[in-house]
């Protein structure tokens, strides 16, 4: 259970960064940390003691393999995360072009 708790602490570090940091770059990094923690948590749920990877080969019993379903879902999630990170970076660069700063308290005047 302590593994789950450490993974949850990693997620909470990400939330802390989003809530307190005023730098857009740090906020993007915090969103990345939360994504890592969520993916890792799903794979931790799938692990089975004394098991092997879910690829069929000679001499490997099917009943000794880890759960392949969360692995498949997390694989899609990682790829989507890359796309959203690229889009966040593009938005941040656009804001920098307009306001000449990454500080979110100075970007508050959202007009025009």
């Amino acid at each position: 259970m302590i593994v789950y708790l450490l993974c949850f602490i990693l997620f909470l570090v990400g939330i802390y960064g989003i809530l307190t940091k005023r730098d857009l770059v740090k906020i993007i990094l915090s969103i990345g940390i939360m994504g890592y923690a969520a993916n890792l948590m799903l794979i931790l749920f799938a692990y089975r003691n004394n098991s092997i990877y879910p690829i069929l080969s000679e001499g490997k019993a099917v009943s000794q393999m880890v759960d392949p379903l969360p692995q498949a879902l997390v694989l899609t999630s990682i790829v989507i995360e890359l796309g959203t990170t690229a889009m966040l970076v593009a938005l941040a660069l656009r804001l920098y072009e307009k306001y000449k700063t990454f500080d979110i308290t100075k970007i508050r005047r959202l007009k025009g």
Binding site: L5, G17, Y47, R48, D67
Partner: protein, 183 residues
Amino acid sequence: MPIEIWLIFILCVMIIASIAALEIKDILSSIIAIGVVGLGVSLSFLFLQAPDLAVVQFLFEIFALIILVRAFVKKEYHQHEESKTNLLISIVTIIVLGLLFLLSLPVFQNLPAFGKPLMTVSEYYLFHGALQTGAANLVAAIILDYRAYDTLGEVTVLFTAVIGALSILKIRSKEKNRETSNE
């Protein structure tokens, strides 16, 4: 050494690296610290018997580092702007998150223990996957056969995100061209 000890070690390193990434002033150092976190995730995927995921996470990490360094390191904004965080907001946030952690402890006690998953759906995939799809890699069998519509949706989301990023950057370059022509 049992696998749980290794995982606890890697997770502690990742937590320290993520706190460092959030607190370091220099932007290049914090991006490198995020790289430590991502490669730690890749390493723990290897320990958790997920080689496909480890490879994909490694590639993702390298691409994300390239994008972040390329985008943010040139801007020299940290030298002349001191970004001090509000101490009161930090303390209140830490207290609230600590309460959240304490209140969610019973949830983790009710989950199945580490290493003993519920495999009600996945047993079917494990025992019938090779016969029904002909794929030796069962993760690939699930992605490309049982959950093919899910993968189609994922590709749609990825395509939309890339189109969005490209169009945002294109607007920027167009406006820059207009400004330079006006001057």
